[in-house]
């Protein structure tokens, strides 16, 4: 029996507004507990919510970037449930008329593009934080709960995909690409480690070819892209094993255990949740007129898909375009500047996605601290093209520039990397090597092509790598043919 995994991903994004969703308390990470609270986000008697306009524009941006429809009219609902970190014991959220709906994200998975549908993006408020006291900080062994309401009321956008994802790898790719869209929009710093972006996966399986969906299981607590992939992968396997041994998948929520590499069933409470949604009477409807939507759309930055298309128009192949598009904004800015300064697009992209990125990783330097700008990259490329430095010397020049040595021409001179172009000097060097390796020369005369490489190498050695290998090759062949 061949099984098809069917996966949907729910993403929660904390918006990086100045103030909270429904009150003027600051949105700040890491403040002293309960110092960013007020009657509204503490759920004090008599307090009322007033929505943050920028948060609404942020969710509109997210929706537009994900090719969604923006609802012309949208309302908030109360989602009623009791929990210590939910001060009002209801969450202001959205039920049947979310701000955005019916969009998609094109995801690159192993060179292929797959379209993942986005069912909706809605606005809600975050809860406070509970810390469970007791052994291990795990909810099952707690002796008490510490509550901090600084996070209560932070604007949260929930993005729900359609169950269009088909593998653990694709799940990860979707999550990463969604994250980069959100980060690029500037609406959230979207850091998984900090919890400003959170992923839950809904996983089910069905026989290959089957149209009906299997029972889905919700997986929570994946704190990195890698753990998301691992968790989904594990869960698919668990479900397949279960079903193949005659069991049934139960609809439940499972918790990913990173250390053990398994999902655990979370304690199911008696009775399922009945959230008793009703329209929030403390708020009035939101009307998103065409003018407002157009205004928000006009302020969107260039998005990954548009960027990739632009790179391809500039001459990059789809794979390079994809890789470059996924790089940090600073590196992409270097590319753009280099192309503007006259560098060929392909060369600029190749340098950045190859040597430059390699160097930053090796030396653990942040893109924001990069000492190479577009003009410098263009200069370097030109120097190679014109044979001012050899391509291997160019790598050293790059190292010099990135290490703070200044412009490429300066580094090349300082490190004595300029190619020897003087014809006479080159001829002299070649003559010396030819004279020193008569056996090799004989070899050439007998048809051994390989010796050319060897002899060129010797000339390079003799000239400390400064000879222009192409010129050397040319001169050598000429001499050997005499």
């Amino acid at each position: 029996m061949s099984w098809e995994p069917v996966i949907g991903i729910e993403v929660h994004v904390e918006l990086m507004t100045n103030s909270k969703m429904f009150c003027g308390c600051a949105v700040e990470f890491g403040a002293e507990p309960n110092t960013l609270t007020c009657p509204t986000c503490l759920g004090l008697p008599g307090a009322l919510p007033v929505p943050n306009r920028v948060a609404i524009e942020s969710i509109m941006s997210i929706g537009l970037a994900l090719n969604c429809q923006v609802s012309p009219r949208s309302v908030f609902h109360r989602k009623n449930y009791f929990y210590a970190d939910l001060p009002k014991n209801y969450q202001i959220s959205q039920f049947d008329v979310p701000v955005c709906h019916d969009g998609y994200l094109d995801v690159d998975v192993d060179g292929e593009t797959r379209r993942v549908g986005i069912e909706r993006a809605h606005m809600e408020e975050d809860t406070g934080k509970s810390m469970h006291l007791g052994t291990g900080g795990r909810i099952h062994a707690a002796e008490g709960t510490l509550l901090d309401f600084n996070r209560s009321g932070v604007p949260l956008v929930e993005i729900v995909s359609r169950p269009d994802i088909r593998s653990a790898v694709e799940s990860r790719a979707y999550a990463q690409q969604l994250r980069s869209v959100v980060a690029e929009l500037g609406v959230s710093d979207a850091r998984l480690e900090e919890g400003s972006i959170r992923f839950d996966a809904n996983v089910s399986i069905r026989p290959e070819g089957e149209v009906l969906l299997g029972t889905k299981v919700e997986i929570k607590n994946m704190n990195s892209f890698r753990s998301l992939e691992r968790a989904v992968d594990f869960e698919i396997g668990r479900q397949v094993d279960l079903v193949e041994s005659g069991g049934l998948v139960i609809q439940e929520t499972r918790h990913w255990d990173e250390e053990a590499g398994v999902t655990h069933s979370m304690r199911t409470k008696e009775g399922s949740s009945d959230y008793r949604y009703f329209t929030e009477p403390d708020l009035v409807p939101m009307v998103m007129g065409q003018e407002w939507v157009d205004e928000v759309r006009g302020r969107l930055p260039e998005l990954p898909a548009d960027r990739r298309r632009r790179y391809e128009l500039q001459g990059l192949d789809p794979e390079s375009a994809g890789v470059l598009s996924g790089m940090d904004a600073e590196l992409r800015a270097v590319y753009d500047e280099a192309v503007r300064s006259g560098a060929p697009a392909k060369a600029a992209a190749t340098w950045l996605t190859g040597e430059v990125i390699g160097w930053t990783r090796k030396h653990k330097v942040e893109s924001s601290a990069l000492l190479l700008d577009g003009a410098g990259l263009a200069e370097l490329i030109e120097m190679v093209d014109e044979g001012v430095v050899s391509s291997s010397a160019a790598k050293e020049v790059l190292d010099g520039v990135l290490s703070g040595g200044g412009a490429p021409s300066v580094v090349a001179k300082d490190r004595d990397l300029l190619q020897m172009k003087d014809r006479d000097a080159l001829e002299a060097a070649v003559d010396q090597v030819v004279a020193a390796h008569p056996a090799a020369v004989e070899g050439f005369r007998h048809g051994e092509e390989k010796v050319v490489g060897f002899l060129v190498g010797q000339v390079m050695k003799a000239t400390q790598g400064k000879a222009d290998p192409r010129a050397v090759n040319e001169i050598l062949r000429a001499k050997l043919s005499e």
């Binding site: 503490l42 004090l44 008599g46 009703f278 009477p281």
Partner: protein
């Protein structure tokens, strides 16, 4: 001597005849002599009041005049948050709760120089029509101490009737200002929904609650409304457009106005004295030049039913925050869930518990559409009924309450009987329209009867215009007989 109105007291303040401190001492004195019988107050803030009165006197001396309520002793229903003053909503669950902020209305009153005497008694969380649901003991009617003052703002109504304040503020969700005003022989009104901020009002039913004034005269009522209404950025349901001048119609009379007498608000359940007083007033209005016609609003017959689905549903959600975690009563338990459940069971009284259960049920899975969903649709139909009626008439009138004040304990065994007290007032909460109760006379037992005037949204001008005429025609004086000896 208790002033006949705060407008009169204001004139005397400005003429130098009396000081704010004197006004306050009179009020406190009255309280001292009547509270044992009335129990209108839960908290008397004598110190705070004296400070405010002294400040008012200093202001006047410096030529600063902050408006009609400057230096006037006022009382606030104890579901309005007052910073530094205990605020309980008449519930055990908030015993000892001190809000860290003032309700917007409270802040505006303070900025207007009002002298807050104290917090008045109410039905717990504003749920009730008699003030008997207070966790701190009931309030009694100053016209007959064996009877209720009405509810839920019974304390505020009784205080103004007795003179221990010259104006008081309450909240009206299903009639909780108008009905006690009617039973206590004072003027009480509910503004257009959205015109008075709810920020800091402990919520009962968010789409219905409005704060409004109790006063001794119609003119006072219009002035008191002006002092508290207006846009508040802290309340998203607060109206940001143009506000009318509620005083501009006073004294204009009713010549040429079209008045609709609501046919559904009469008949079975209405005491004869109430019906005849209503009829008599209608006749007087006609003589005064108004055109009176009978109007039928058939949806009024199911308004009570819709209200008893919508209000408890919203309340069940609004009261979920009382869980023993962050403030208020805590009854310990081994888990958070236990702690919350025990705290709420102990902290809430029977009426509140009843409504939370009712509301939770009507919102729950499988029942939402037939109950809460349908009630909201009925509400829309009620709004339409009003709209049609206002195409034929300028205002609608009816008794405020089908009966006069009933005996304490008379309706406590039968929740439905208690709910019927609000049958005349509920429709304008559902529509969000303004309405006022004006005392027009006493029945044979000497108990006050109230006459209700309803107007379209933002129609406070014409509402007060008619109310002022009603007051003039009735010639009623506030002289609560049961506490006469004490005064």
């Amino acid at each position: 001597m208790i002033d006949s109105s705060f407008s009169e007291a204001g004139r005397r303040l400005r003429s130098g005849e009396v000081t704010a401190l004197t006004l306050l001492e009179t009020a406190l004195d009255t309280a001292g002599r009547t509270e044992a019988q009335l129990h209108a107050f839960l908290t008397l803030d004598t110190e705070g009041a004296r400070e405010a009165a002294a400040k008012a006197d200093a202001d006047f001396a410096d030529g600063i005049d902050l408006g009609p309520l400057h230096g006037i002793p006022v009382a606030l229903k104890d579901n309005m948050c007052t910073r530094g003053v205990e605020t309980t909503a008449a519930s055990q669950i908030l015993a000892g709760y001190f809000p860290p902020y003032d309700a917007t209305v409270v802040a505006r009153l303070r900025t207007g120089g009002a002298v807050v005497v104290g917090k008045t008694n109410l039905d717990e969380f504003a749920m009730g029509s008699s003030t008997e649901n207070s966790a701190y003991g009931t309030t009694y009617n100053p016209w007959d101490l064996t009877r209720v003052p009405g509810g839920s703002s019974g304390g505020s109504a009784a205080s103004v009737a007795a003179g221990s304040s010259l104006a008081a503020f309450g909240s009206d969700t299903g009639g909780s200002i108008r009905q006690p005003a009617s039973l206590c022989g004072v003027v009480g009104m509910k503004p257009t929904y959205g015109t008075v901020s709810r920020y800091g009002l402990i919520a009962f039913a968010s789409s219905l609650d409005q704060i409004g004034p109790f006063t001794r005269t119609v003119e006072d009522s219009a002035l008191a409304l002006q002092a508290i209404w207006g846009h508040d950025p802290h309340d998203a349901t607060s109206y940001a457009g143009d506000y009318p001048d509620p005083t501009s119609g006073l004294g204009r009379g009713v010549e040429g106005l079209r008045i609709g007498l609501v046919s559904e608000l009469s008949g079975e359940g209405y005491e004869p004295a109430v019906e005849s007083a209503t009829g008599a007033m209608v006749a007087l209005l006609e003589s005064a030049g108004a055109e009176v016609i009978e109007v039928s609003l058939p949806t009024f017959d199911i308004a009570l039913s819709a209200y008893y689905l919508i209000a408890p549903a919203e309340a069940s959600s609004n009261l979920a925050r009382f869980d023993g975690i962050r403030y208020g009563l805590r009854v310990d338990g081994p888990t958070t869930e236990e702690l919350m459940s025990r705290t709420r069971a102990e902290g809430f009284g029977p009426e509140v518990t009843r409504r939370i259960l009712l509301g939770t049920y009507s919102l729950s899975a499988g029942y939402y559409d037939a109950f809460y969903g349908q009630a909201q649709r009925v509400r829309a139909a009620i709004q339409e009924d009003f709209a049609s009626a206002y195409q034929q008439v300028d205002v609608l009138v009816s008794p405020t309450s089908p009966t006069v004040a009933f005996e304490a304990g008379a309706r406590t065994a039968d929740p439905l009987a208690m709910y019927l007290s609000d049958i005349c007032t509920i429709p304008s909460n559902l529509s969000g329209h303004p309405a006022i109760s004006v005392p027009i006379g006493l029945d044979e037992a000497g108990l006050p009867i109230g006459f209700q005037v309803m107007a379209p949204a933002l129609g406070e001008e014409v509402m007060y215009q008619v109310a002022a005429e009603v007051e003039q025609l009735a010639g009623f004086s506030i002289a609560p007989t049961a506490i006469e000896g004490a005064l």
